[in-house]
């Protein structure tokens, strides 16, 4: 079963809002799932609590956003991979703690800017963005604190943090592909993002990664439903139980 929503061909305003909500909702849903995979594996107990807090905030955002589009569970559990609109960055596997922190830094910085600008618009997502931006500010702070400690910690942590930042760099360009229904200044967001991330990396004694911010064929891919290999596996695990009992309530 798939949803009837087809954002590309729909012109009316509700559908455009729904497409935007789906993109942001999928980002939050998928990143929340990845962070949930840390449960029981965090490097220190205090981080178990911190990572779960972030995952729960994101899951809460996802549920609100997906509910604007349709039934949250149908959307989460019954769509095929190609129907997900999240950016590829959030679906990347956790890797080590530094890798997860790099992903958090890149994404939470983006999300905070995006929600911040969105909250200033008079669009239908403004109210939700205003609430979410407070949560996301904390996620960004968490990511920055750890980026600095790992980058400017031991030689090993520095290397790991640099590797994490480098490896995920090519997934960062995609975030700034304009999303239909979100009427904000995308180039301005990208410039602010770059300035913010650069400042943190410098404070962390890390090099700003060089190289392309998008893959050769993948520009804007996640938003159009093209994902990376690990995402299929993630969805298989996430959806398996729900799909095994068609029509059941939980």
């Amino acid at each position: 079963m798939t949803t009837s929503l087809n954002p590309a061909s729909s012109a009316d305003a509700d559908a455009v809002t729904a497409a935007a909500a789906l993109a942001l909702g999928d980002d939050a849903l998928v990143l929340s799932h990845r962070l949930g995979e840390w449960a029981g594996h965090a490097p220190v107990l205090e981080e178990e609590v911190a990572l779960a807090n972030i995952a729960l905030d994101l899951l809460g955002q996802a549920r609100v956003l997906l509910s604007l589009v349709g039934d949250e569970d149908e959307l989460a559990y019954l769509r095929e991979e190609r129907a997900f609109r999240n950016v590829q960055l959030v679906e990347q596997p956790n890797g080590d703690f530094a890798h997860t922190i790099a992903r958090q830094l890149y994404f939470s910085t983006y999300q905070r800017l995006l929600y911040g600008r969105l909250a200033e618009t008079d669009g239908p997502l403004a109210g939700l963005a205003a609430k979410a931006v407070k949560e996301v500010a904390y996620h960004q702070d968490h990511a920055e604190q750890w980026t600095v400690r790992l980058g400017d910690g031991t030689a090993e942590s520095h290397d790991r943090m640099q590797q994490g930042c480098d490896a995920l760099w090519r997934h960062t360009g995609e975030m700034f592909q304009p999303v239909d229904g979100i009427d904000i200044d995308w180039p301005e967001i990208e410039a602010s993002w770059t300035a913010s991330v650069t400042a943190v990396l410098e404070r962390a004694t890390l090099a700003v990664p060089e190289g392309p911010r998008t893959g050769a064929w993948s520009a804007g891919a996640g938003r159009q439903g093209l994902h990376t290999e690990p995402f299929g596996r993630m969805l298989a695990e996430m959806q398996h139980l729900h799909r095994s009992h068609p029509g059941a309530s939980w």
Binding site: E46, V49, N53, Q145, R149
Partner: protein
Amino acid sequence: MSDAKDWPLWEVFVRSRRGLSHTHAGSLHAPDAELALRNARDLYTRRGEGVSIWVVPSTSITASSPDEKDPFFEPAADKPYRHPTFYEIPEGVKHL
């Protein structure tokens, strides 16, 4: 090098709402004050239990010894005139 991995202990004090003083909530480990504050926020206020947090390195706290109980606290127990219930006020007198 195992010493470097051990994070110091911090005592956490939470003001549960405006108008109340900070109360000891428990302790936690953190490498520095900034993370101690954040860990405290996540651990001790995740159900909205607080509006303000203090963290203090456990080693910075000097406590009275239980053995000093007598000289420290008994004189205070001996001054009932410090408490309002010490004074008898005729019935019907208000705002006292």
